[in-house]
């Protein structure tokens, strides 16, 4: 088998972008064994980014976001089937219904799901939904078509901001309620958060920051309004819950893998860690569910919910699944993502939250064209462009080469060095998820770990 050290059976759990691209890469790299993909959703892999943009604007139907195949893949597709567990000792994946799929190599690419509204009764009201799947987008699109009096968006991260943008694009009244001081602040920090707040208000969004929704109210099973923590009330027919994502790792509870609310930890070669932190050699991880160390960011374990990361990491995982030690590759891609909202193209390279200072190196918020460069302890760690995408490649080189921060004014469009300000990003090391395991036993050969009940 040319180019393949490891024939046999490969199972991929998760049949979205990462699972698909991994399957294609396995065949590209000469894997000729048995390949099975397991996907919980009952439709073939599709592209999620258009769901909060083109689909909500009515330009694209949710049914039409199917991903194109890069190549034909000889594989068994088990769609509409949940994986419920892994037995590392016997190398089997347990499916809902009791079937066991044996594997020689396993790829876990189960991604994330939308964090649900915490009150089930309120979440069940007609008009209350989250946006993660194509089915969600079809539902929301239909609700927007019906011409609601007002849409409430709960949470102003990227998804919430894009939904608010689509609502305004359709001429709908929209209120955005954000717990933090500004939209996008959790991902991009204070400077661009302030820019995003001004942008939303200029487009007619009723933006309420530093406020939470305390309850959703219904009448006859339909949403009619919400109460806010500042005592305010709004009337709305539709509420979109945009409170971030939850990693799909519960099915790995009890498997002995290092899986928890932050994802499944792995090495730079996409090999999963077991719960003791020992690397496995036959279980791999890719996409949103993976936590991996990145050398450019002090080897901290990163969990990225980025389209490009899913593709790049899947390709590395696929290569390494069928390659022996010295031929394995590290996943070293510089993180990157984009968003389009309110007619602007926002793109990011590096990790903006890995920063202590930020400087507007090109353009300005007033022009709605700018590049913000982020630094950490005197080196460049990220850059975000607004309608200046062509500049970003240059800053990617600065990130890769650990160039000094602030960047040389000669390389910006400034005559004098711009003044950096604190980046005001959330501390990535903050303890926000609680412990997931506890040490047990006392004698050195009896020390073990037990899974502690997860936070919901």
């Amino acid at each position: 088998m040319p180019g393949t050290d490891r024939p046999g059976r490969i199972v991929v759990v998760g049949a979205s972008l990462a699972g698909l691209r991994a399957a294609e890469a396995l065949r590209d790299n000469g894997f000729t064994g048995e390949l099975t993909l397991v996907g919980e959703e009952d439709r073939p892999p599709y592209d999620r980014p258009p769901l909060s943009k083109a689909v909500l604007l009515g330009r694209v139907r949710a049914a039409d976001v199917t991903l194109p195949a890069r190549r034909a893949v000889d594989a068994r597709w088990r769609l509409g089937v949940r994986a419920e567990g892994v037995d590392l000792t016997h190398r089997t994946v347990l499916l809902a219904g009791g079937e066991r799929l044996p594997y020689d190599r396993l790829l876990i690419a189960t991604g994330t799901r939308a964090r649900p509204w915490p009150h089930p009764g309120e979440a069940a009201l007609h008009g209350v939904l989250a946006l993660r799947t194509a089915a969600d987008a079809a539902l929301l699109s239909g609700l927007l078509d019906a011409g609601p009096r007002r849409v409430l968006v709960i949470g102003a991260g990227f998804t919430g901001s894009e939904i608010a943008s689509a609502c305004r694009g359709r001429g709908l009244d929209v209120t955005v309620v954000e717990r933090g001081p500004a939209p996008l602040v959790g991902a991009l920090g204070g400077t661009l958060g302030a820019f995003a707040a001004a942008l939303q208000r200029a487009h007619g969004v009723d933006l309420r920051c530093g406020v939470t929704v305390t309850s959703l109210q219904g009448r006859d099973g339909r949403l009619v309004g919400a109460e806010l923590s500042d005592g305010g009330r709004i009337e709305a027919d539709v509420a979109v819950v945009c409170l971030g994502a939850v990693r799909n790792t519960e099915w790995l509870d009890g498997s002995g893998l290092a899986a928890g609310p932050r994802g499944l930890a792995c090495d730079a070669g996409c090999r999963a860690f077991d719960m003791y932190g020992i690397v496995t050699d036959d279980v791999f991880v890719a996409g949103d569910v993976a936590r991996f160390p990145h050398p450019l960011f002090e080897y901290q374990l990163l969990s990225l919910e980025h389209w490009g990361n899913a593709v790049a990491q899947a390709e590395v995982a696929a290569h390494n699944m069928i390659s022996e030690g010295p031929r394995r590759r590290p996943h070293l891609a510089v993180p990157a993502f984009w968003s389009s909202q309110f007619g602007l193209n926002i793109k990011s390279v590096g990790v903006p939250t890995f920063s202590d200072r930020v400087v507007i190196a090109q353009g300005s918020p007033a022009e709605r064209r700018l590049v913000a460069v982020y630094g950490y302890r005197g080196r460049v760690t990220a850059a975000v462009s607004v309608n200046r995408a062509k500049s970003l490649e240059y800053y990617e080189r600065l990130i890769e080469s650990a160039a000094p921060f602030p960047p040389d004014p000669a390389t910006t469009d400034r005559t004098v060095a711009p003044t950096p300000v604190p980046s005001d990003v959330p501390d990535p090391r903050q303890l926000s998820h609680g412990p997931t395991v506890a040490l047990t036993g006392h004698l050195p050969d009896r020390r073990g770990l037990a899974l502690v009940r997860r936070e919901s």
Binding site: A54, V60, V73, G343, L344, K347
Partner: protein, 68 residues
């Protein structure tokens, strides 16, 4: 035939918008929006757009996972 554009790679050169304006459009100055499913009569323009993209960001193909 379906389309996906790697929008990390896309830099808004808009060659696709000139060559297949019924499929690709700019939303604002540089945010690309496109039909994910190619209409029958747009397959040739889309193929030209794929070839002309300066950063080769456009992938087209049949539905992934179909027929397996």
């Amino acid at each position: 035939m379906y389309i996906v554009v790697d929008l990390n790679r896309c830099q808004g050169y808009a060659q696709c918008v000139f060559l297949a304006p019924k499929v690709f459009e700019l939303h604002g100055e540089e945010a690309l929006m496109y039909l994910t499913r190619v209409p029958e009569d747009q397959q040739d323009p889309v193929r030209r757009a794929v070839a002309a993209c300066p950063v080769q960001a456009i992938t087209v193909g049949g539905a992934a996972g179909a027929g397996n």
